[in-house]
Amino acid sequence: MAVPAVRRAPIRTGMKPPRLSFLRQTLTVAWKDLRSELRTKEAINASLSFAVVILLLFSAAFEPTEDQTREISGGLLWLVFAFAGALILNRSFARELANDCLDALIAAPMSGAALFLGKALANFVLLSAVEAVCLPVFGAFYNVHVTRQFWPLAGVIALGTWGLTVVGTVFSALTVNLRLRELMLPVLGYPILIPCLLAAMHLTAPLVMGDPLTAELAQWVRLLVAFDVIFSALALALIESVMVR
């Protein structure tokens, strides 16, 4: 695929502000990942099938018609997102192992932060796509009204997915060279994600039932935002240590 050429700044205005260059690097990486994934659709298909299977298994474990199940279904939804998401996140860096692409990326003249952010963005889009398909399936299986509080629900899902993505992408980079990569990513990532998942579950549960968020749930929103901010900052700060020897 053609790498977009860097635009030369006009001589009289001097240098281009560096911020735009960083953004371009990030978007280039993100677009590359998305294009390569959309070409084969391997991870998305695997992830979607896995998600549907998990939803089926859950309906075997609990009776979907009972009121209690409808109440915990918000939590179940996030388990589905977390498990199915691991497949996508794993592939994120694993995809680059063949043909030394990972080394090429690390050696490329862009900061590790741009590479990380680009991959995280691509993962976020892919995860959101899977979740967008899961949601109506989930609504049908468990007879919950996912559209009644649609915008708050979308907001919560976006915040939670970003938390999943950031942590998952860091650990994907970390575990890429390990033999037990598929095992180590969930083992390391899920416990760290517990606060994010806890908050997302507590917020999603009333929202999928069609109830609006009450004031006492505001602390979960704050927690989710704080988690996203803190771990995004940490990931950006630490990613160079992970990738560069």
């Binding site: 083992v187 806890l198 771990f231």
Partner: protein, 225 residues
Amino acid sequence: MRNKTIAVLSWFTALLLAGNLAVILLVLPDEVQQGPIFRIIFFHVPAAWTAFLCFFGAMIASVLYLVRKNLRYDAFAAAATEVGLAFGAANLLTGMIWGHIIWGIWWTWDWRLTSMLVGLIIYAGYVMLRRAIEEATERARMSAVVSILAFADVPIIFFSIKWWRTQHPQPVIYGGGVMSPAYKFMLFFNWIPLLLLAVALLLIRMRQEQTGREIDALRREMHAF
């Protein structure tokens, strides 16, 4: 020199512990509501404090490793994490036994026990990661990153699980109310031998890391011809 330090530490710790145990079992009066089982707090709580101190030390060492690239810091981080895991496990198990006496069940999702469990699982993952990487500097680098991310998560985990559990009926282990000054003093005083024990174990474990590196060096020398 190091051997002597460890020996002196161990003896001092043993003496202090014996003295404290005598006071705990024979001298201190019973706690009114919970009876003798409450005395387990003198090991249960300081073990948790020790574990946290260890994990905090591991994080500091990890940051220092990433900045200075000296493998001594990595050895400290690995040792501190393992010692922290041991004390955390002691905290968890004594908490479960305490809970079993007070409520008749082994696990009650009390927020402190649950948070400690999550923390221990995270650091167990750290140990697993170290086992999975063979090259020393790569292992040091990766585990340093995990240690920093893990410790950053610890306060968030505690707050989130505390909020989670306050939405459900809360069994209270610590009995609420005011602790008598004699108990409070012993709580802190018993922390001292536990800390000394942690330091001794840390030194031993750090030396093992160093021996491990010597072995790696010898192996390389072996295969060099």
